[in-house]
């Protein structure tokens, strides 16, 4: 079913993975109460660090390690400024984006000037023999570079850490009611440091994923907004590991689809069918939820919310377009914008419905309240 073939799924998962890795790190940081909008900058230094490490050592894993360290380095700046000096988290994050963009390009130019013929080998795919022959999802799940598996392994890891370990409880408390940690004799400062460093490390790995795993070289600004997509994925995922996982897959899918459609003169019918199906699923699930959640004897739940109306419009539109099949040729730049436009749409739908950690963005001062 064009364009949803096994190659599409493979691309979707490959694209989703760096996003997933970065978003999971950000999830930890935000759960601890520090919002890190500097992901983009951290990814960029990670991407360059990865490139440099891999080029110098001829070992992709050494490259990943260098990328990780580069991300951690920026995270230290973030932690010192926001946790120790209690600077505004957003301002510091924005500054880090600018620094990351500048530093990575500068370092790359210097490096390439001194080593003109430098190149790196892309990380090779790792195949699970047999399993990768499965139809449709086989190659998507079992013929990918190892970093993809790392991303997938992180999901249950973060989930267990969050919901089954004491550290996870403490991290979540630090972002909700930091006083609860502090009065328990647990240092909020330390927890937040841990959160910020983890976010930095994973953003670095995510950046290295791009240079080592996806492209095979470093390019200025090669993250092209993926740091911000990761930020959005945390929100869309409702600050839960599985939600973040789903959000990353959604964006990966959108990006892979966009890449596919760029080269075609019309949008295949199956795309409209999938869109209509997604809208229908969403509509039904919200209706069911509202029916069940209400439980109130009096007063029917409101059906005509902005969300449900929009969804119905999308559904009908998709059906009509699926039947008519118009020829749309968009300039490729507009296609490129598709995942981002989708992000904005999903964010608009999701905001107000998910609850962010109560103390997110607030500096913590011991004994601050009279």
């Amino acid at each position: 079913m064009q364009p949803f073939d096994s190659e599409f799924f493979r691309a979707a998962i490959l694209i989703a993975s760096p996003l997933l890795i970065v978003a999971l790190g950000e999830l930890v940081s935000e759960s601890a109460g520090v919002i890190n909008v500097g992901l983009e900058g951290m990814m960029l230094v990670g991407a360059f660090g990865g490139f440099w490490g891999a080029a110098e050592t001829h070992n992709v894993w050494a490259g990943v390690a260098v990328g990780l360290l580069a991300g951690v380095l920026l995270a230290v700046v973030m932690a010192v400024a926001t946790i120790e000096a209690r600077a505004d988290q957003i301002v510091v994050g924005v500054a880090l984006n600018i620094i990351g963009a500048g530093v990575s390009v500068f370092a790359f130019q210097q490096y390439v000037a001194s080593r003109p013929n430098i190149f790196i080998k892309r990380m090779a795919a790792m195949t699970i023999p047999g399993a990768d022959q499965l139809p449709l999802l086989g190659s998507a799940l079992f013929r990918q570079i190892p970093l993809v598996y790392v991303g997938f392994a992180l999901v249950p890891l973060v989930w267990i850490a969050f919901f089954r370990t004491r550290w996870g409880l403490r991290i979540r408390a630090a972002g909700e009611v930091p006083e609860a940690d502090e009065t328990a004799g647990v240092s909020v400062r330390r927890l937040r440091w841990e959160g910020v460093l983890i976010a930095g490390a994973l953003a670095g790995v995510g950046g290295a994923f791009l240079s080592i795993g996806l492209v095979g070289t470093f390019l200025a600004g090669m993250t092209s907004g993926r740091g911000f997509l990761a930020l959005a994925a945390v929100i869309v995922g409702g600050w839960r590991p599985l939600g973040v996982f789903a959000a990353a897959l959604l964006f990966g899918g959108a990006d892979a689809l966009q890449l596919r459609l760029q080269s075609q003169s019309f949008v295949p019918r199956s795309v409209w069918i999938v869109l209509a199906a997604l809208a229908a699923v969403y509509l039904v699930s919200t209706l069911v939820k509202r029916r069940r959640g209400a439980g109130a004897p009096a007063g029917a739940p409101r059906l005509l919310t902005a969300g449900s109306v929009t969804t119905v419009v999308i559904l009908l539109g998709a059906v009509v377009l699926g039947i008519r099949q118009p020829h749309v040729t968009l300039p490729s730049l507009l296609w490129l914008a598709f995942p981002y436009a989708l992000t904005i749409a999903v964010l608009a739908g999701v905001i107000g419905r998910v609850r962010q950690p109560a103390a997110l963005g607030n500096a913590f001062v011991r004994g601050g309240d009279a």
């Binding site: 370990t165 609860a180 004799g185 647990v186 240092s187 209400a294 109130a296 309240d369």
Partner: protein, 526 residues
């Protein structure tokens, strides 16, 4: 101290469990504690009394490791100790229940406890903790369900969760900072019983309060702070409310505010079948109708969370009603813009100080000015008239006795009671036509509470219509001309002053429970 068998029975009963010597703590511009010494023994409930800003919370934050004193020493069981952070305090068996609870609402009770569990386990063992909670809960009649999500619990239950938390962490010295300002009478009686039980087991309890009746019921001794210094320590059995009040504020306090019968004028606000549903469709406000006239106080009595908050929010324009209508002025409507509410002479004292009534990070001055500025006063061409504003603030701060080093300090740095006074000053200074006052005296010391009650009566006699929402029956009964009893989002009854007795109100609010607990309470005391 023959009772002190379970806790610390190996220790000498003559050595105080906790002793503070010469504690001094300064903040920029104020000395919050000056050379404070006090002691508390095992098996004893020590009350700490003092004006707003006297330094009670600060002193307890020093004991619990949240703040470091400039000088002075602390002894636990006769041994000098250093408490550099809350972890140190915890190791010494000191635990504190804060004015704003330190519980994570999104976690369950057991998970909240697991947060602070000691040891090196990686995985949180919530099942075992849950068993321990059940055990403690049974031993001290705390009635806490370990699997409940904290956010779903009532304030009284959350407080008992805090107590379980402290006991779970092995606390033997338990500190309560104004624990009762949010409790219903039933919950208060429950708490008294718990505290006396704990003391009987040998725990030491320090209890900060402004309510003298409660103090008399629960405490053995009382230390009074004034302006950061110890004004004296008395045995509760050998004193009375009048003396305690005199020690606290340095003057006589009349516990009765005299109020003339109302001479109601025209109707200022009226509501017909006001209804408000929350997003999930549950009614929070369920057909409330009333009329409120010039020169009268309508008291709304009820347990917290029965729609009082929603009623106030609809009338002041913070929320819109989903059914019914009301009017403030001539037009009937279902909602009002907050600015219109203020333009028409409305004033609002919200119950929730930290979220609705003040901006914590702004200065006292800005907090005092914000509504004036919104109404277009104190400015010329959109620029604040500094002189007029400063003068205005200074006058108000004097009149309402707001204790702050300067009008320019952030309001966060004021003591709880002084923050409340800023709100009162801002709202009452505009000679309102309609005043909606929710828990107006919450957190105020006896002197300030008396002052506020007088002010409310004076406003009423001037002709202001007052809707006073309070969980404290005494307060409602003293001031109201009529009393509405609010249960489940409805006015169950609206009683005239002479019909509204404590017993009748208690009964309407589900008062059998009060008597039940009262009965058991006397048994424990005996």
């Amino acid at each position: 101290m023959s009772m002190a068998q379970t806790v610390g029975s190996d220790r000498s009963p003559t050595v105080p469990r906790l002793r503070l010597c010469g504690i001094t703590k300064r903040f920029p511009g104020v000395v919050a504690n000056r050379d404070v010494s006090l002691e508390v023994h095992g098996g004893e409930v020590l009350a700490i009394l003092g004006e707003n800003g006297a330094g009670k919370s600060t002193l307890m934050n020093v004991v619990s490791g949240m703040l470091q004193p400039e000088s002075g020493s602390i002894e636990v069981d006769g041994k000098p100790v250093r408490i550099r952070n809350p972890a140190d305090a915890r190791k010494l068996g000191i635990g504190m229940v804060y004015q704003h609870f330190a519980l994570v609402p999104t976690l369950t009770v057991a998970e909240n406890l697991a947060l602070g569990a000691s040891g090196t386990r990686i995985f949180s063992n919530t099942r075992r903790i849950a068993e321990q909670v059940t055990g403690l809960s049974r031993a001290y009649h705390l009635e806490v369900d370990p699997h409940a999500v904290v956010g779903d619990l009532s304030v009284g239950t959350r407080q008992r969760v805090e107590i379980v938390k402290l006991l779970f962490r092995g606390a033997e010295i338990l500190i309560f900072d104004e624990p009762t300002s949010v409790l219903t009478p039933v919950e208060w009686h429950h708490l008294v019983r718990i505290l006396r039980n704990l003391a009987a087991e040998g725990h030491s309890i320090i209890f900060i309060t402004h309510k003298l009746d409660e103090l008399m019921q629960v405490a053995d001794r009382c230390t009074v702070l004034r302006h950061g210094e110890v004004a004296g320590t008395v045995s509760v059995a050998a004193t009375d409310k009048a003396q305690l009040a005199r020690m606290t504020v340095g003057r006589e306090i009349l516990f009765q505010v005299s109020t003339k019968a109302a001479r109601p004028g025209r109707v200022v606000v009226a509501a017909e079948g006001l209804t408000m549903r929350s997003d999930d469709g549950r009614p929070r406000l369920d057909g409330v109708s009333f009329e409120l006239r010039e020169g009268e106080i309508l008291g709304v009595a009820g347990v917290d969370g029965n729609g009082q908050r929603e009623l106030a929010r609809v009338l002041t324009g913070l929320d819109a009603a989903t059914g019914g209508r009301f009017r403030f002025g001539d037009e009937w409507r279902t909602s009002i813009q907050p600015i219109d509410f203020y333009r028409r002479g409305g004033a609002y004292i919200p119950e929730d100080r930290h979220h609705t009534s003040v901006a914590l990070e702004l200065s006292v001055r800005d907090n005092l000015l914000m509504k004036e500025l919104a109404l277009g006063r104190m400015q010329r061409g959109g620029v604040v008239s500094e002189r007029a504003a400063d003068e205005y603030c200074t006058t108000l701060m004097q009149e309402f006795d707001v204790r702050a080093p300067s009008p320019r300090v952030r309001i966060r740095q004021l003591s709880g009671g002084n923050q409340q006074k800023v709100v009162l000053a801002r709202e009452l200074s505009r000679t309102p036509q309609l005043l909606i006052a929710a828990q107006p005296t919450r957190g105020l010391d006896v002197g300030a509470a008396e002052f506020v009650m007088r002010r409310l009566v004076a406003e009423k006699e001037r002709g202001c219509a007052i809707l006073m929402i309070s969980t404290e029956l005494e307060e409602v009964l003293q001031l109201s001309d009529r009393v509405a009893v609010m249960v489940d989002g409805r006015f169950l009854a609206v009683l005239d002053r002479q019909d509204a007795t404590y017993e009748r109100l208690g009964l309407l609010l589900g008062g059998e429970a009060v008597d039940d607990l009262g009965g058991e309470l006397t048994e424990v005391d005996a």
